[in-house]
Subunit: 431 residues, 2 copies
């Protein structure tokens, strides 16, 4: 499938992708819906207003969704509509498009609606009501368990029976590119001293967590669980996510109710939502297919290929330095699929709403340099080397972190684009 | 302070209160802002439209907030405005009102804007972006710690240094009167067997948690902590809250990331938001004033009377039975004040938004029958007796639970009204 539009061969936004997002620009000051294609954003509001959807009658009653400042209303239209719109846009952009008059041969509309990504500002794609973070990265849970409790008790008894999760903080989810202040908080300067007395300090163990996350589209009513085999139709699409973690704050605060200040200061996501339909070719079995037999029926999917083979990586660039790829992982390293997470989330009757975000948990491999966090790789003490020879156990001020992920092959990549942020120094607070 | 309006002496909504809420009725089908006074709601939208605020010029530019379906916009106007509006409404309702023409002698406006509470439907007062639940009820934390770990390690080392908290589920917060389905979920039928294998079951240990909760008014930007001595001005007001808890689901799932399905199915709040100004006369020192000296400076309030003396209680009525008051507690049983919770929440730079909700944690006393949950009172095995002689260890289907709280004395109560819900049977699910 090739396009009449020039698309760089290494672009994560090939014609096979068509991810949805929210943009503005000098020319388009109000936020509107768009798709990414190669080095361009296609402004769907302008496209719709100029009759771009004339060949797709089903979407006509809903064109107003593209002028909204979030994708919530579009997501709420449901998977069959997303699928139609994506396939229609692919057909418009194909070299052999059956509708050349819509965009291919329509220079005025190209000029109006095709905006170079370099001139576009990305915004959060959805208004996020609730954010839930799972812990389905089996290798990450194991690695962390070994560090905290040793190899014999690394995984809790519940771990393989249910997708462990906690509620996260929705207000501080920001889009890629937003700088992050190192948080201040309570830490134990000497964790082995008794009695344990905390000090106030900038976080000294600031870490990355490499995750995928799914946006909810179709809601479910309170009291109405979503069956696992219908759950995927409640998912709008996926983004990459960096669940920043203050390990020293977490170690002191997290018993007995879980992480709070260690995570609430920021979470970064990519701006373009990749539909599950775009990831269909990359389905593979989950990390431990035999675990299916141990699951309670409400978590047993008919399909056994619920996760995706998407190479992931993160790199660190120190201020003024060169990028260093620190870790290469893969999205297939999950014990549970997003439909299983969603079914578990709602089994009590909990209602999900369009725009709710479900994080996968940190995605680590089993080999060296495949871990999704620095803590796993350095064990909190064995520094990793950056390209310029400097060392890191955790992040330093001025470091820029970029997560990336794309599936497929050259010319046909389905990817997320950069999930990026620079670490700013902690605020100096006076009391 | 007496009113020209007849107010029952035991009403929680005396002239000293003036709580804000969102209502609709047969006559007023769209949701609008209101205050509660005695047995009436005063429709603030109708009141404003008919010139009711003519004697309060400061609010004139903002009258549109009263036609909104939530109080978020009103809350965002900030504490000085809430205070002015409350005091103005008190002045209008006073027997010796300086402005009798506004409402006292204005029968048409009384007819239009004063609606009997019995004819009004209450709605959630705010659109809740994020919900955080703290654990500041020292006696509850101790009681639960004794049950889980014995008296020597009842409180974790961090407990007195920071207000422990977890992120809760915002989507399933409902207003008093909404029935609650008993949740289904994973439980350990035999917790001591090895290996631990869960079963799927309706929750058998469904419990109450009696809490106060604070709504945020003024937001703070991401990266900008709110100093503890300014934090109260970021609070719009308080409600009563029942943080329903599925103890058996919780016991199996909550290590290591905290409660998730055990809490996500429902949380019930009262519809009327009581301003902190209305609670000023009831300030008392927190549960352990000497603990202040152990706190890091960012948590040390100048004032030492940051909690409120508000008698609280909950009652259970079995289907067709009599109400039984099971527990009498008091809101002063908190180790940390809401300003301390808010300061801790934001110390990392976490941004709060108007409508965010902060729960206090369960509020228990130290004596028998003063606990804020059934688990503490029955220890999970010693039944309590209801009025008709039936017994409860945890809640049964058909039980109606009502939380209540009011401060002050007859004729001048400042209270929350009922926080009520009936337990419906678990859904029968087929897989």
């Amino acid at each position: 499938m090739t396009s009449w539009l020039q698309i760089p061969k290494n672009s994560p936004f090939s014609l096979a992708n068509i991810p949805f997002g929210i943009i503005s620009s000098a020319k388009v000051p109000s936020r509107v819906a768009a798709i990414a294609i190669g080095d361009y954003a296609l402004n769907l509001n302008a496209f719709a207003s100029s009759g771009g959807f004339s060949q797709l009658p089903a979407i006509q009653p809903h064109l107003g969704v593209f002028s909204q400042p979030t994708l919530n209303a579009f997501a709420a239209l449901g998977r069959p509509v997303h699928r139609q719109v994506r396939e229609y846009i692919q057909s418009i952009l194909r070299a052999d498009t059956p509708f050349p008059q819509v965009l291919k041969d329509n220079e005025p509309l190209q000029k109006e609606a095709l905006l170079p990504l370099s001139e576009v500002t990305n915004h959060l794609p959805m208004q996020i009501g609730d954010y839930t973070d799972f812990y389905a990265g089996l290798n990450h849970a194991y690695n962390l368990g070994v560090l905290l409790r040793g190899p014999d008790n690394a995984l809790q008894p519940n771990y393989k029976h249910l997708p462990v999760a906690y509620h996260g903080r929705a207000s501080s989810i920001v889009v890629s590119g937003t700088p992050i202040h190192r948080p201040n908080g309570q830490v134990l300067a000497n964790p082995t001293a008794t009695p344990k007395v905390p000090t106030f300090s900038p976080c000294k163990r600031l870490d990355i967590e490499l995750e995928l996350a799914a946006f909810v589209s179709t809601p479910n009513d309170m009291g109405k669980p979503v069956p696992v085999n219908e759950a995927e139709d409640h998912i709008f699409g996926l983004v990459l996510m960096n669940d920043w973690s203050a390990r020293d704050i977490q170690a002191w605060e997290y018993v007995p109710l879980g992480p709070f200040n260690a995570k609430n200061f920021a979470t970064t996501i990519t701006p373009w939502v990749v539909l599950v339909d775009a990831l269909e070719p990359f389905r593979v079995p989950s990390l431990d297919p035999e675990n299916r037999e141990n699951l309670l029926p409400y978590l047993r999917e008919k399909r056994t290929d619920g996760v995706f083979d998407i190479p992931l990586e993160f790199e660190i660039t120190n201020a003024g330095g060169q990028p260093t790829t620190v870790s290469r992982s893969n999205a297939k390293n999950l014990l549970f699929s997003f439909p299983q997470m969603l079914a578990h989330h709602t089994i009590t009757g909990c209602n999900l709403r369009p725009g709710d975000l479900l994080g996968s948990g940190t995605i680590s491999g089993t080999e060296p340099q495949t871990q999704g966090s620095m803590f796993e790789q350095t064990r909190g003490k064995e520094p990793l080397k950056l390209a310029d020879g400097s060392e890191r156990v955790f992040l330093e001020d001025g470091d820029t972190v970029v997560l990336r992920g794309k599936a497929g092959t050259e010319g046909n990549y389905v990817g997320f684009g950069d999930c990026s942020a620079t670490i700013l120094p902690a605020l100096k607070l006076e009391f």
